[in-house]
Structure formats: C-alpha cells, structure tokens
C-alpha cells in the first residue's frame, strides 16, 4: 500500500484538533484571546 504523506499529516492534524477540543483547549484559547495580556504585548 502506497502511503500518501500529505493525507497522513492531514489525518494527524485532525486527531490533534479533536484531542485539543476534547481536552478543553479550544475554550482555553478563547479565554486567553478575549482578554488583553498587557505584559504579553510589552505594556506593564
């Protein structure tokens, strides 16, 4: 069976994405993105 590398990476990325959503990372990303982190942008 011939391996299609691009499809393997695509599949791997989907698995990572689903695992990330399952672990609540999407909500954490949103939480961080909706508040200004002043020290992160060099203020404070």
């Amino acid at each position: 069976m011939k391996f299609k590398t691009a499809y393997l990476f695509l599949l791997g990325s989907m698995v990572l994405l689903i695992m990330g959503i399952y672990s609540g990372e999407a909500s954490s990303t949103l939480k961080k993105a909706i508040s200004i982190c002043l020290s992160c942008i060099g203020i404070g």
């Binding site: 990330g20 990372e25 508040s35 002043l38 992160c40 060099g42």
Partner: protein, 305 residues
C-alpha cells in the same frame, strides 16, 4: 485574464481586513470578545489588537505551554492542554497548502511587502539567517514558556513579550493610543519592543520580508510542511532555461533553478510569483500525485531543448 499576482494582492488585503474587522473599538470592550476567537488563523495577527476577531496561533501556543503545569496539576491527568488544538489547526491548513498562508494571507507579510516597495538600495540576507527562525521557535515559543516559571507556576509568553513586532504594531501602539491610562505603565519593555519593531520596519525597506525569513516562528512551523503538503511546487528541469527570473523575483530568496534549494524549500512562502514570471512554464503547482492545480501559465519563450 487577471494575473495571479493581482489575485494574491486582493486576497492579502481582503483577508487582512476580514480578520481585523472589529471596528467597534470605541465601545465598552477594548477588544473583540466573540466566538470567532476560537479560530486560530494561520497568520501572525495579534489577538490583543483592538480590531482582531480571530486568535494568533503563536500567542495561543505559548499561552498553552505557559499554563501547562498549573492546568495539568489542577485537572489531575487526562489529556494535557499542550497546544494540540493549535497545532491541529495549523496542521490542517499546512498539510494542504504548506506555507502558502504566509504569502497569501498574513497581514504582517503584506506590510513588509509594502515597505520593500520603497525605492532604495536593496540588500541580500545571508543564507544562514533562514535557520534563526527555528532557534526563535524552539527557545522563545516552546522552551522558555515551558521552563521560565513565575512563583505561581505559570510560564512566560516570551516571544510575544520580548520579540513580536506584530503585537507592538497591532496591539501595543493602538491600545496606548486608545487608552491613555495605559501610557503610565508602558516602560522599558515597551521601549524595547518598539525598537524591535523599528528595526524590522527599517530592515523591510532594504530587504524583502526580513521578519518572515529570519524570525517568524509561525513560518518555521508552516514551512516544515512544504515538502509533504498536498499542494506542492514542481520545477521541471528539462523545460527550465535557467534564466534565473524565479530567483530574482522570489521574496524569500529561494533559488531552485540552479539546484541550491528545493522547489518545496521551507523558506518558500508559495506566493507563486516564480510561477507567474517563468517564461517557459517550468514551474507548476501540483498535487501529491502530480496533477496540476493551477493552469494559468502560457510560455513567453521557447523551452530548452
């Protein structure tokens, strides 16, 4: 037929506007706080920018790594929040088109392209400088957020804090302009970040896309997919007349006509300017199986025999 370069320019502007479309900046919330910020767009666009409506994957990745220890301890096991969502989001795009978002979507790349249009003497970057972005990725995006821990146990988002010029331009300066009370707490750190931004702006006038080529950690991640992505560039050595036009026009200094680089080099941002300029259509955009994705090239010169 509209040229590919014109289409690219339109897409760059449209996408930059689309992800920076929170024009209600004088309202109660200083930044957009809606659900679109779940989405990590594969470009360097600070999510603390008053106009931004989506998330920056590099900022989100650092935040995930910086909070890895305390959150892992709090939930007591399970799948750790180690940036899987962000890496998955990036991987989905990059495994299809590689580093194409850098050339077609990134607002910070667009700004650098405009700066490079200024008429001055242009300078070349040394080849070794293209490896610096991997060092920046490893140290400032992964290692320091993981291991530079504050007394409470949280890491530092060091790339955003000390380097990211997009953050200074899109978030730091606008926020200081919109909220005068913040000016009192902007100190040495902001001064440093402003200097970094000025250095990048000046460098962009003299050399093409210096930030993308030497520092950008997002470009470093996406570039790794260039060789394995579904859509690839193919250079036909038989057809090539070795005129060097592709090398001259390449914004990231990739030189594949003479064998120095691969057509799918991690430095290539897939702007497809080489595809448009090639007089003999020796460059094609193909799928993994070799099927042509774009068929817009007409030979302007006879191919090598």
């Amino acid at each position: 037929m509209i040229s590919l370069e014109r289409i690219r320019r339109f897409v760059q502007h449209a996408f930059s506007l689309l992800i920076n479309s929170h024009f209600y900046i004088f309202g109660t919330a200083p930044i957009y706080q809606g659900n679109l910020k779940y989405v990590c767009t594969p470009v360097l666009n600070c999510y603390s920018c008053p106009l931004a409506v989506t998330s920056c994957p590099i900022g989100a990745l650092q935040s995930a790594l910086a909070t890895l220890r305390p959150t892992f301890r709090a939930v007591g096991g399970g799948i750790p929040q180690a940036g899987l969502y962000i890496l998955g989001s990036l991987g989905l795009v990059a495994s299809v088109v590689g580093r194409m978002p850098c050339g077609w979507l990134c607002p910070f790349g667009l700004i650098q392209e405009y700066l490079f249009k200024l008429r001055t003497r242009k300078l070349a970057l040394p080849r070794w400088s293209r490896h610096v972005r991997y060092v920046v990725l490893a140290i400032f995006v992964v290692l320091l957020p993981l291991f530079w821990i504050d007394p409470i146990g949280f890491g530092e988002t060091t790339f955003c804090k000390f380097i990211c010029p997009a953050g200074t331009l899109e978030a730091g300066i606008p926020l200081l302009s919109l909220r005068p009370e913040l000016r009192q707490i902007a100190g040495v750190l902001f001064g440093w970040k402003f200097l970094v931004l000025v250095a990048i702006v000046v460098a962009s006038i003299y050399t093409s896309r210096p930030f993308c080529r030497t520092i950008c950690p997002l470009g470093a991640i996406l570039g790794l997919f260039n060789r394995v992505s579904l859509v690839r560039l193919h250079h036909d050595k038989e057809t090539c007349v070795e005129c060097g036009a592709c090398r001259t026009i390449c914004p990231t200094g990739v030189s594949f006509y003479d064998g120095t680089d691969s057509a799918n080099s991690p430095s290539c941002i897939r702007c497809l300017r080489c595809y448009s300029i090639c007089p003999v259509c020796a460059i094609s955009v193909t799928t993994e199986q070799g099927r042509k994705v774009i068929n817009q090239c007409t030979p302007k010169r006879r191919a090598a025999s």
